[in-house]
Symmetry: C2
Subunit: 224 residues, 2 copies
């Protein structure tokens, strides 16, 4: 076994569960990869252990530097209410293509995923909570904070926001063409990628919207 | 509190964790809704408790009637190797639109999600495993089973497949326009939906594909 070559970037985190055991070539090792995946996703899947059982729910999030803000799910809220800080696993996955190979065994997907482990703290300070909601809003609906009515004190108090540091995280990706065994290359089967794209459709005004309110540029021109 | 009206369909499942505590109007109650969400998704997020900690990983799946077949993740494999049948939570989420309201507090997403709880069994019988792999293949890459080389005995033996019955499941969805408080309707802010669409791009042949192999119809004509 040869020594690993020196990496130009420090490892993202080096706990056993964030160090890939197999398909190591799919591991991203720098913080920029982590940020890129998190910034490109729209929702995460938040996992926690509730009364001993796994629970995974889709959740909104937003990133500010190396902190991930999360909307508190009902499970997290019930744990916080019981005085427990929930341990979570937050996963964001982007699908890029289906990989068609000459063999079913080598069919795959091109994807990018980020997995973050930690114990998020509840954001309680009103100023920090307002900041966190702005970060969440800028992620879900950039431009809305300056266009719509911002949360009032009552709304701020009613919402649960969690802050999860990006300390223990891993990034994994598959990119590139199918990798068939040389023995399969004479197959008559087609091999290649079928890319998967997301795009925004045409804005649909609310039925009760006044006819003279145009679609603002931050919505009409939103790009993925 | 009024009595609930009779539902034409039997409940999907009636355990406390699959019965919504809040926003009950977002709960789907029939099996057709569950099947529709599962059939429209491409990957699931598989959650389990590994050494006491939550773990959530993206995983391929396929549905056959009321059984969900899953590719075994490394976490599930390590638990099976230790003689444990992992308890899992499998979540599939489809994002349909960003909901822009007059207030930040009522911003939301239109989505459909399915959450399934259970203890999947490992599929060990070779004939059932081959069937399960066909179901997984038909979900990820419909048409490939009849086009590419099917798994041989060695490949079949090397793969881990889990079977999860759709016994304990819930479906949740938000649809329709923003719901602003009547007091907000005089706002000058735009309100409505920005739909999110997925579509397949142009197939990209593998660099080592012979130039005379055309893109077959099951790939060229694939629709979402």
């Amino acid at each position: 076994m040869t020594e690993p070559t020196a990496s130009p970037a420090p490892p993202l985190s080096a706990t056993p569960r964030t160090t890939l055991g197999r398909k190591k070539d799919r591991a991203g090792t720098d913080r920029a990869c982590l940020h890129e995946v998190l910034d490109a996703g729209l929702i995460c899947h938040l996992g926690l252990v509730l009364d001993g059982h796994p629970q995974v729910l889709p959740t909104g999030y937003g990133r500010d530097g190396d902190v991930l803000y999360l909307h508190g799910s009902s499970g997290a809220r019930s744990m916080l209410a019981a005085g427990e800080e929930p341990e979570v696993c937050v996963t964001v996955t982007l699908l890029d293509a289906v990989v068609y190979s000459r063999t079913l065994n080598d069919h795959s997907m091109n994807y990018r995923s980020a997995v973050i482990y930690g114990r998020p703290r509840p954001v309680v300070d009103p100023a920090e909570k307002e900041h966190a909601l702005r970060v969440l809003s800028d992620h879900l609906a950039p431009g809305s904070w300056d266009h719509a009515r911002v949360p009032n004190a009552k709304e701020l108090a009613a919402v649960t926001v969690l802050a999860l540091p990006l300390d223990e995280a891993s990034v994994k990706a598959r990119t590139g063409p199918p990798t068939d065994d040389p023995a399969e290359l004479s197959s008559p089967a087609w091999a290649g990628l079928l890319p998967l794209h997301s795009r925004w459709g045409t804005p649909v005004p609310a039925p009760d919207l006044a006819a003279d309110i145009p679609v603002p540029p931050h919505i009409a021109d939103r790009r993925i």
